[in-house]
């Protein structure tokens, strides 16, 4: 219950901070940090324009996409307080429910019959396929280290004691951050601010969405960032008392948002055909963590 509240709160400023960091880095003043929320509210008030090619799939896809992200959010715990949904192996459900959302966003894009959106859909399907193994290997290693298989139990029993575990924690955090960047179609996979449809992935998929639907898709994006931010926070929070954990949580989210903003400001987007390699590298880093986990748990002979 706590996590739901805090993630929602964090989602309201996360993207705003990213945008603000980027504008400061490029020497502009930039909009306020709640501008993204205001954008969404404006969109919710608008009417909608639908493509005449599209069918009911296009109309329900954003809703299902948003719901999948929302349900995934319910799974993420906050420190030792469980998420609303929590069971052994909930991270499997987490990954698969996000995949359900992806399925719908892809077919929603294909429903418009636009070649641009088809292109974005094709890339999204391929890149998200590559990112999945990294997540599972990482969660598998954490499960190995702690002996549990639910988010909440893994994170509360994860003790970062020795220097190896700290190294692993940092590696894991960076993998989660990169997965978050891929999931949100950010640098270096995708550039949300590009002006050429040919180089977009996520933005080009939602070219035809408008009004309420676009609002849902954007909100889902904000939630996704805060979601992964919360997971990264949990990685380090361990069993900190709630009183300290709450400010720490928001500080961490803000810090991550700044990091994302800095990454986006100083890093160029990879060439489209290098993206796959980049994501596979992520899986190998996850494998590295797995072997580290083996060492920590003393199963490396």
């Amino acid at each position: 219950m706590l996590s739901l509240l805090f993630i929602l709160l964090a989602a309201s400023f996360f993207t705003g901070i990213v945008v603000r960091t980027k504008s400061i880095a490029s020497g502009r003043k930039g909009p306020g940090i709640f501008q993204p929320v205001k954008d969404v509210v404006r969109l919710f008030k608008k009417g909608a324009v639908y493509s005449e090619t599209s069918s009911f799939v296009f109309r329900i896809a954003p809703t299902i996409y948003f719901s999948s992200v929302f349900v995934a959010m319910l799974i993420v715990p906050f420190g030792s307080s469980k998420g609303l949904i929590s069971f052994n192996g909930d991270f499997i459900f987490f990954a698969y429910v996000l995949a359900l959302g992806k399925f719908f966003s892809i077919i929603g894009a294909l429903d418009t019959g636009s070649s641009f959106e088809g292109m974005g859909a094709s890339r999204e399907a391929l890149f998200s396929m590559f990112a999945e193994p990294a997540f599972f290997i990482l969660m598998g290693s954490l499960a190995l280290m702690t002996g549990h298989t639910s988010f909440q139990e893994i994170f509360t029993t994860l003790h970062l004691g020795s220097s190896i575990t700290y190294a692993l924690g940092v590696l894991a955090a960076s993998v989660f951050l990169m997965i978050a960047m891929i999931e949100n179609s950010r640098m270096p996979i995708d550039d949300p601010k590009t002006h050429l449809e040919l180089t977009m992935i996520h933005e080009v998929m939602i070219l035809d969405n408008s009004g309420f639907d676009l609002g849902l898709i954007l909100t889902a994006g904000y939630l996704k960032f805060a979601l992964y931010g919360a997971i990264i926070f949990n990685l380090f929070s361990g069993s900190i008392a709630v009183g300290y954990a709450i400010p720490l949580f928001f500080a961490m989210q803000a810090f991550l948002a700044v990091v994302v903003g800095i990454i986006e400001s100083f890093m160029a987007r990879s060439r489209m055909n290098h993206n796959a390699q980049f994501i596979v590298v992520l899986s190998s880093v996850a494998l590295l963590i797995f072997f580290g986990a083996l060492m920590v748990s003393g199963k490396f002979i």
Binding site: G47, V71, F87, T112, S122, M129, F136, I137
Partner: protein, 675 residues
């Protein structure tokens, strides 16, 4: 006893009567027979699942010895799957086959074979005698072959049929060798002889025996590299038959493997590892090739290979659990495999039936020519979408449940093992995840290109939805897909008895899935409900919000380009272009290309045809080599009568002289010995 007579007489009578009935009469008769077989065997199967095994000893013949029929929990599970698929597939077929009403004789043969196929498949699950088993197996193989070549006027169909016929006989060859091996050692054709043989010959001999059976059954199931018949046979057959083939025919191979695991006493760890490796390869390879296919049914056929891989992963994990005395892994592995067998039979038959609807409406299965069907055939589209979601293993549908069980098994194994098995776990998990991700690419492509966007081709006939009664069985299957996804625990209860058969092999403690890591399935289904409720709630809000707003319909955004055509849409090939480029070295893609040339370019074209590398290595190259070798003896068959008479004389002379020669040599040798 009465039961067996009923089971044998009903189909026989029907077969005799069918040719004399009218079209409508035939349809009713076929369905009546299918349902009566289903009711007869289904009641036994339900008893079997409840723990009351049905067993009966038939006198049999002098050669075969007495034939035992037994329906235990494992048989019962498969019988129920077979019956359900035949009931829905048969009903669907009644309407699908109407299009061929101008071929009454062909239809008569087809309906007779359909009944035979059902009867033989069901009896295969119960027979406990190798000779009777082989006879039923042969009836099954032949009737399936004849069902496949229904449209025998097409060359491709006949070719696919013969490919299937030959490969299913290679499978029979391996089974026969296995059965003869046991019979020659023990003198009995009863299945219990296999068990007693393996008990007295542990180690390598039992393993060899199992491998014979495994190859035989794996050809039928479609494990890589024995899968090459599948992508030909499935598209060639009429849709009800493709659905049944993929739904249950290949599952009889899985049944065979499971049955042999029960009978042969083995080093289960070794077998488990072998099956696991083969299954991961099958799963990943199947889906990787599926993505490239342009023929809708061929794409689905490759997906069957993938799903056989997932089932195999379950069996492999179960065996390893059995070998290492790990009750949780063992029970979850086998439970996952058995549940996925049911799940796959549901969503795959649904996919094939909806593909059949598409074929009936458009007369093509080439997905590059389809598009925009969702507006013409909305119900088919929704059913196809549902099955696609289920086959990708997405919550809250049934595919997710079986994959979740497998994951739970894997992660329970994680806690108590050493490094080698840990690497195995990571490979298996990555394999399963990759299969899921690739399936997502494949089915977004299939659904998106076939049903969404604008039509890519102008058809001369009007495209319309199939009649309601043809859709009725499909809704029934869809309901089961949702039910298993929403109430998995109900179906899991039914799996306790079959799984106990396996855990009982090593007396592993297992009485229910409670305390087994699977009580979480209740929470999984609750999370699924949560998702559905949220979607419905949001859709409601969306409707309310949009009611007051201004909603307009305009052309798709084209970057300001004002004259878009359907041709500028992304095609299936372009959707998977970056994928096929990345994994290019794994595939064999034939390309015919004429590039644009000159200042005033004329026609250019590009044609690609994906091909299977394993098929090339394993089937094509050996057959060409064999052909070349045998071609050297072609001079023998020169068409001159004189030579043929000479061969005849040579044959007679050798038949007479060889024994004489043998005797002389023998006498001479004995003479030498006496010296």
């Amino acid at each position: 006893m009465n039961f067996v007579w009923g089971f044998l007489l009903i189909p026989l009578l029907a077969i005799c009567v069918l040719p004399f009935l009218s079209m409508k009469g035939k349809a009713i008769a076929v369905y009546a027979v299918i349902s009566s077989i289903a009711i007869l065997t289904g009641t036994l199967a339900f008893q079997g699942l409840a723990g009351q095994n049905f067993a009966l000893e038939l006198p049999g013949s002098l050669i075969s010895g007495s034939i035992e029929l037994r329906v235990d929990a494992l048989s019962a599970w498969f019988i129920l799957i077979i019956d359900f698929t035949f009931l829905t597939g048969g009903f669907y077929g009644l309407f699908y086959m109407k299009a061929y009403a101008d071929q009454p004789t062909n239809l008569t043969l087809h309906s007779i074979l359909f009944i035979l196929l059902h009867a033989s498949l069901v009896s295969l699950c119960a027979i406990q005698n190798s000779i009777a088993f082989l006879v039923a197996w042969e009836i099954m193989a032949l009737s399936a072959f004849l069902c496949v070549i229904f449209e025998h006027e097409k060359v491709a169909t006949i070719r696919a049929g013969i490919n299937f016929l030959i490969q299913s006989h290679i499978s029979i060859l391996f089974l026969m060798l296995g059965f003869i091996w046991v019979a020659s050692q023990t003198g009995s054709y009863d299945f219990s002889a296999i068990h007693s043989y393996s008990m007295t010959h542990p180690g390598a001999l039992s393993l060899m025996l199992f491998l014979f059976f495994f190859i035989g059954f794996a050809i039928k199931a479609g494990f890589v590299p024995f899968h090459t018949w599948l992508p030909y046979a499935h598209p060639a057959a009429p849709a009800p038959i493709s659905g049944i083939m993929s739904g249950v025919l290949i599952k009889i191979g899985i049944f065979g493997i499971l049955r042999m695991l029960l009978l042969i006493d083995l080093d289960y760890t070794v077998v488990g590892i072998v099956i696991l490796i083969l299954s991961i390869i099958s799963g990943v390879y199947g889906v990787m090739l599926a993505i490239l296919q342009h023929n809708l049914k061929r794409l689905l056929a490759y997906h069957s290979i993938e799903n056989i891989g997932i089932i195999g992963i379950g069996i492999g994990l179960g065996c390893i659990g059995l070998g290492t005395n790990h009750p949780v892994l063992c029970s979850l592995g086998f439970a996952g495999a058995l549940l996925h067998t049911l799940n796959h039979s549901l969503f795959k038959s649904l996919l094939f039936f909806t593909a059949g609807n598409v074929y009936q409406a458009t007369h093509t299965l080439d997905i590059e020519k389809l598009g925009g069907l969702v507006k013409k055939m909305p119900q088919t589209a929704i059913l196809f979408l549902l099955a696609s979601l289920a086959i990708c293993g997405l919550p809250p549908f049934n595919g997710f449940i079986s994959e979740f069980i497998l994951y739970t098994g894997l992660f329970s194994w994680l806690q108590q093992t050493q490094i080698t098995s840990l690497i195995g776990i990571i490979v298996t998990v990555s394999g399963l995840v990759l299969i899921g991700g690739l399936a997502l690419i494949c089915f977004t492509k299939a659904f998106g290109v076939v049903f969404l966007g604008n039509p890519r081709h102008v058809f001369h006939q009007e495209i319309k939805e199939v009649p309601f009664f043809q859709l009725l069985p499909l809704y029934f299957i869809a309901a089961f897909i949702v039910l298993i996804g929403m109430f998995p625990t109900v179906f899991l209860e039914m799996l306790i008895m079959p799984v106990q058969l396996f855990t009982g092999l090593h007396q592993l403690p297992f009485t229910s899935f409670r305390g087994n890591g699977l009580e979480v399935l209740a929470s999984v289904s609750q999370a699924g409900w949560c998702l559905v409720a949220l979607v419905l709630l949001l859709l409601g809000i969306r409707k309310l919000v949009l009611r007051k707003r201004n909603v307009t319909v305009l052309p798709t955004w084209n970057c300001g380009y004002t004259a878009p055509t359907a041709k500028i849409q992304y095609t299936a090939s372009s959707f998977v272009k970056s994928y096929s480029k990345l994994f290019g070295m794994l595939f064999l893609i034939f390309k015919k290309e004429k590039e644009v040339e000159g200042i005033f370019p004329t026609v250019a074209h590009l044609e690609t045809r994906p091909y299977d590398k394993i098929e090339k290595w394993l089937i094509d190259t050996p057959t060409t080599n064999l052909r070349v070798f045998l071609g050297r003896f072609r001079f023998v068959q020169n068409g001159r009568l004189q030579f043929y008479i000479l061969y005849g004389i040579l044959f007679i002379v050798s038949v007479i002289s060889i024994p004489i020669l043998y005797d002389t040599v023998k006498q001479f040798v004995e003479f030498l010995k006496e010296l």
